[in-house]
Symmetry: C2
Subunit: 113 residues, 2 copies
């Protein structure tokens, strides 16, 4: 039992890290390879400082890796499969979502696969 509790805590921390709309888009954006903070900020339409904070969290948890190149910091997923695992979650969202979402879901599924 105590082991179950411990592992459940670890799992929950991991889920919490993913459970943010910005970070989900960020992870999906990185699925195609490394990218620098400014480009990410533009693509996701977020202030760079905010991106930096999200990246800092993911970095601490070693979900992303940082590589410096000149004055840019290039980030990439340390476990690229995670992007696919997240989109698998779409199936569960779909089941409880109103039919109105079906179109959006299809579109995003293509973009993120």
């Amino acid at each position: 039992m105590p082991h179950r509790v411990h592992i459940a805590r670890e799992l929950a921390e991991f889920f919490k890290l993913v459970a943010h709309p910005d970070r989900i888009r960020l992870i999906e954006e990185l699925r195609t390879g490394e990218c620098d903070v400014n480009t990410l900020a533009e693509r996701l339409n977020l202030p760079p400082a905010r991106l930096s904070q999200h990246l800092s969290l993911l970095r601490t948890a070693r979900m992303v890796e940082e590589r410096r190149c000149g004055r840019q910091h290039l980030y990439s997923l340390s476990q690229p499969q995670i992007a696919g695992w997240i989109t698998d979650g779409l199936a569960f969202v779909e089941a409880r979502a109103p039919a109105a979402l079906a179109g959006e879901l299809r579109e995003v599924r293509e973009l993120w696969s």
Copy 2:
């Protein structure tokens, strides 16, 4: 782009729901079939009222289904595969976890499969 934002929000809500140690254990406890609140409370070693609150959240999100039987409320997963999907997340936890966790992870993986 707006679609991606929208879907990312939905996904994040779904992840948040799962991102709690009690609820993770609860979902894994339900993987073998329906169960009443009191039994769950004993097995997870949590006060029944707390279980009830978690179940109410999951019920609202239609992640669990409720069936009344006499004075008991029997709950079950509306998408049983979700339990397996969650344990798939263990792989990602494992990668960033200290080696000390390896034993616990193996044990829990067996229990929850």
